[in-house]
């Protein structure tokens, strides 16, 4: 075999290799254009919290001034009954009425510590002054001094609306808009869903190291189609 033939053989080999590469690249290009886009969206199951659950207002409804109660679907004032039926027994006792109320207010177990004996549409301060339901904080403050002091300057209690009173209306909630006067301890509550992505070392509860539930890049496997486009 001559040197020239060797060289031609080499040439042919080189050329065929080039074609293989070229065809490979063309196939790759076709693949890029024809396949679906790579879904690199790391999907974790979204936590759905209805906006209505989050109450950006008062925790409970306070009794208005003058006091209105709904009895058998009818709006009544306290005095609607209490002027008809006179309370004769002015001492602590078990009531046959107002069974819907739970009285759990520490040592304060007597209706007339706060309610007026004569006019049931009114409350009463310890010095005997009749007050309306709009002056509840004053009444509560007679016992809960430090809390009342804090509430007056805005440290205790909830503020709504505007922090800057010059730019809009500010609402300061009163005692009975958060606390039930008959059972004033703030109740335990249900809590909203916790985070999917946070871990905090060994001490963190509910961490199973073999479970990849808390991986922020965990891929959403099931179902295969986009779960949110089907009104999930």
């Amino acid at each position: 075999m001559s040197v020239q033939e060797d060289k031609q053989q080499e040439l042919r080999l080189g050329n065929s290799f080039g074609w293989v590469v070229a065809v490979g690249f063309f196939l790759l290009a076709g693949w890029f254009f024809l396949t679906e886009p790579v879904q690199d969206h790391p999907l974790t199951e979204p936590v759905r919290v209805q906006a209505s659950i989050i109450n950006s207002g008062a925790f409970r409804t306070a009794t208005p001034e003058p006091p209105i109660v709904v009895i058998a679907g009818m709006k009544q004032q306290c005095n609607s009954c209490h002027t008809l039926f006179e309370s004769k027994q002015m001492s602590p006792r078990r009531l046959a009425q107002h069974t819907e109320l739970t009285l759990n207010h520490g040592g304060n177990e007597w209706c007339f510590s706060c309610h007026d004996t004569e006019d049931r549409n009114k409350l009463v301060l310890p010095d005997g002054e009749q007050i309306g339901y709009d002056r509840i904080p004053e009444l509560c403050g007679k016992c809960h001094g430090p809390t009342y002091r804090d509430w007056q300057v805005g440290i205790h209690g909830k503020t709504l609306g505007y922090w800057n009173k010059e730019m809009g209306e500010q609402t300061r909630l009163t005692c009975s808009q958060c606390h039930d006067p008959h059972s004033p301890a703030f109740p335990t509550m249900q809590l909203l869903p916790g985070p999917n992505t946070l871990r905090m070392g060994e001490g963190d509860a509910n961490i199973d190291r073999h479970d990849h539930k808390h991986n922020p890049l965990r891929k959403w496997q099931e179902p295969k189609s986009n779960p949110w486009e089907e009104g999930h």
Binding site: V153, G161, R199, W228
Partner: protein, 329 residues
């Protein structure tokens, strides 16, 4: 007269050489490879359903063009248009500036917080955070009573009812530090502290290097690992450029004290959602504001004081607790 003779022999030889079969094939392969590489490089374009309306403006801003107010308005309108195309929601975008004479402060009453996470989800809703992958500005840590060691805390508490006896709850979010380490480390100045103390991020300027996330001692900064998912019906249409407009993949985000609300005088969303009234917000420079009263009269502390970040987020206690019926104040 003798004309100069051009010696074309070399050029001719080269031309001859270029015309060989082998070099033709080699060039063809190179050409095909080049075309393929180009096709691969531009292939993401075919997935782009809605070309951003502001791409030219983006280009100009990448090249350091100071925007006039009119141009800002145009930009905000273009972003609103993009949001409309992406989510089908009509939104308003602006950028309220800091109010002169105002420095924001936040105070949180650990005696009152009951860990129900209403603040977390109100914040997600208000600030259009991604629901998947999940981004939450506030993390609530359940702590055993009698310790401040965060390593004993838990994020993933899941009781039927809170508060759990003998535990307290510490929500942590951006502390809007007066000496913010996140701002110092940003290589492109995409984040800065404004006059009123709020540290903001320009999501269009952020390159997503996550240095700030590493620098923050409070875990306040969050990275968009993927395209955010926000349900269309849950978009908050009241948006600002540096706060709650929808973010893109690959940028950082964090709490900004709801500046789209607070710079218009309103209270932050987390505060209004808190059922216990544990959260307090206001102007530190006003001696009669709620936060100023708290700083003056209560026992307060800041988290990780020793790292020298000087937070504007304060934790405080009541004299006695009424939690779990253990006190009577």
């Amino acid at each position: 007269m003798q004309l100069p003779v051009l010696n074309n022999a070399t050029a001719y030889k080269g031309a001859r050489k270029g015309a060989t079969r082998r070099s033709f094939l080699r060039k063809s392969v190179a050409f095909a490879g080049g075309i393929t590489a180009f096709a691969a490089a531009i292939s993401p374009l075919k997935d782009m359903k809605n070309a951003p309306a502001r791409s030219l403006e983006d280009w100009f801003r990448d090249h350091y063009k100071e925007l006039t107010q009119e141009q800002k308005d145009t930009l905000f309108a273009d972003i609103a248009k993009d949001v409309k195309e992406q989510y089908g929601v009509d939104v308003t975008i602006d950028q309220p500036g800091p109010i002169p004479g105002v420095e924001y402060g936040y105070a949180l009453n650990l005696s009152r917080c009951n860990g129900n996470r209403a603040c977390v989800h109100a914040c997600v809703k208000e600030n259009n955070q991604s629901r998947s992958p999940e981004i939450q500005y506030i993390r609530v840590v359940e702590m055993p009573a009698g310790t401040f060691d965060l390593e004993n805390g838990s994020h993933n508490f899941d009781e039927a009812l809170v508060p759990k006896p003998d535990h307290y709850y510490m929500p942590i979010q951006c502390h809007q530090c007066a000496d913010p380490p996140c701002v110092k480390v940003c290589p492109v100045e995409a984040t800065w502290q404004e006059e009123d103390g709020i540290t903001v991020i320009d999501y269009d300027w952020c390159i997503g290097c996550r240095y700030c996330q590493a620098a923050c001692p409070y875990w306040a900064r969050h990275f968009n690992f993927a395209d955010p998912y926000i349900p269309e019906e849950e978009i908050n249409p009241d948006m600002a450029y540096l706060s709650n407009r929808p973010r893109a993949r690959g940028v950082m985000e964090k709490c900004h004290f709801c500046l789209q609300r607070t710079r218009k005088g309103r209270l932050p969303a987390c505060l209004e959602a808190c059922p216990t009234g544990a959260r307090k917000f206001g102007n530190l420079l006003d001696p009669n504001s709620e936060v100023s009263q708290i700083l003056r009269t209560k026992r307060i502390f800041v988290l990780k004081e020793d790292v020298g970040t000087r937070p504007r987020f304060f934790y405080y206690f009541d004299e006695r607790t009424t939690r779990n019926g253990r006190g009577t104040a």
